[in-house]
Amino acid sequence: MLGLIAVVIGLVLFRLVLGRTSDGTLSLDLPSGIALQLRSGAVFSGALAGACLGLAGLLLQILLRNPLAAPSVLGVTSGAALGVSAATVLSVNAGSIAGSSFAALLAQLGGIELIGAMVGSLCSLFLLGWMARRRGGIDPISLVLAGVVLGAVFGAIAMALQWMLPPHSRADVSLWMMGRVPEWPNVGVAIVGAAVFSLVLLSALRQSTALDIASASEDEARSLGVRIGKLRNTLFVGAGLLTGSAVALCGPIAFVGFVAPHLARIVVGVRSRSLIFAAPLCGIIVLVGADVARLLIPTSHGRLPVGILTALLGGIWFLRFIGRGREAWS
């Protein structure tokens, strides 16, 4: 655990001293003034979104007893992105709908994205649970299949909504869909995200013993007095709110919620109490690390969107995981 904390501190410090000018030149300097504020903003955004996704992925993997479960794999991230796309269409057309002044005010405060992302992620989790339910329990294969289908359907609806936007807004939303790390994050979204993360972290810690038991089998958990339904519902809502916060802040970033819990297991083992601290730290390492990596990659069009790097890393890890697990599953 101390090693993880040391890596996080090292990465954060490296990101703070790493700069790049508009002509693509890299520099290592001690920033001051506005540069320090902007780099701190980027570090804070990446760290908060990474921690939220790491914890959300861990809770989903434990509660569903499925190592492939993660917000992006199960379509929860796509659901949140659909919510934000719908909110964007609403705010662009705010002048022509009822309650326009309220919608415009929410849009200005960044609240419309936050509400859209939260509602989208919670609805997708509810739909997912409903679709994967078999004989009172959740079938792991149905769950992953339902997640893939939901992700595709939500993605198609989000694209249809984007198509309805004027060309200049359409390009904006397309870029947002690639994931980003804001250097000047919306304070309201950041405060809500930090509050959601703290609440879910405390709630998960209080129930860490129940989580250990729940990760064995449903019958075993019931026989030991764990109310598995209540636990699952509470932490599912928590995972949905965490994903919504991360998407509202950084856009739909794939695979951080998948990779972080696996990295955490390698480092601290399988006990839930340790994992609840380690998975968010690993999420921070993946997302802030990806932000650092994109600064180091030279392109003539500016920096790569961070979502491209996390998807590449996570995709390779996912394939490797499936390759290793195939024999065990069969």
Partner: protein, 233 residues
């Protein structure tokens, strides 16, 4: 005009026949055009479009709108394609367009003392798209006598830190909905010119209107800068 792409906003009642990468051939044939204007993509025109044009006797005219000079050439090419006589009303109209376009980019007095300009679009909390050397907008602003900030390419995604590090005094923001928090936050040290994005980001009949508006705003900035300079002891 009997057909258009979805990006053409001149007349919404004209039917859309797809985009150049995804031509709706059936719809295009139904509109029965005499001239087809195309802006070829990097990979070239779709071969079936050339075949179809040859079979049906359409005049396939290729125009490119990468640089500022390309816009002038495109206006001339459209007039040539639609009117065989070079002294006809369309050519006269094209000449008038070119005169207005040239006038809209006339040099601004004392513009060189502005200390550099950066052209941006899509200003958000993680940066903006910058227009550098090679884009028609940067070339238009350079014709006005301003020094445009050098970027690594004609269209470069810049972070807010990279924008703040640019050695310019003024930001021209062509954006329908720039993030106000960012404009009033880290970018507040610059002079800001909000330019009409609808007419500037896509070459259209209203481009000249957009350039004229932008030029007027830049003249105001130059005058304000001079007034501040004179007031400073």
């Amino acid at each position: 005009m009997v057909a258009r792409t979805p990006w053409c906003v001149t007349d919404a009642t004209v039917p859309v026949v797809g985009t150049l990468l995804d031509v709706d051939v059936e719809a295009l044939v139904l509109t029965d055009p005499t001239v087809v204007l195309v802006q070829p993509p990097v990979q070239g025109n779709p071969p079936h479009l050339a075949d179809l044009s040859a079979k049906r006797g359409w005049n396939l005219v290729e125009i490119r709108i990468n640089s500022f000079d390309d816009i002038g050439r495109a206006v001339g090419a459209v007039a040539d394609a639609l009117e065989p006589v070079s002294t006809g009303p369309l050519h006269i109209r094209a000449d008038e367009c070119m005169e207005r376009l040239t006038a809209s980019c006339a040099p601004i007095e004392s513009a060189s003392q502005m200390g550099g300009v950066a052209l941006l679009s899509s200003v958000r909390d993680n940066g903006a798209l910058g227009f550098g050397e090679g884009s028609y907008l940067a070339q238009a602003v350079e014709r006005m006598g301003c020094h445009v900030a050098p970027l690594s390419g004609p269209f470069t995604q810049l972070s807010l830190e990279e924008i703040c590090a640019l050695e310019v005094s003024t930001l021209i923001i062509c954006d329908a909905n720039p993030d106000e928090r960012v404009v009033q936050g880290p970018l507040s040290k610059f002079w800001i010119v909000l330019a009409p994005h609808e007419s500037l980001l896509m070459p259209s009949p209203s481009l000249v209107d957009g350039l004229e508006l932008m030029r007027r705003s830049l003249v105001d900035v130059v005058q304000l800068m001079n007034a501040r300079r004179e007031a400073t002891p």
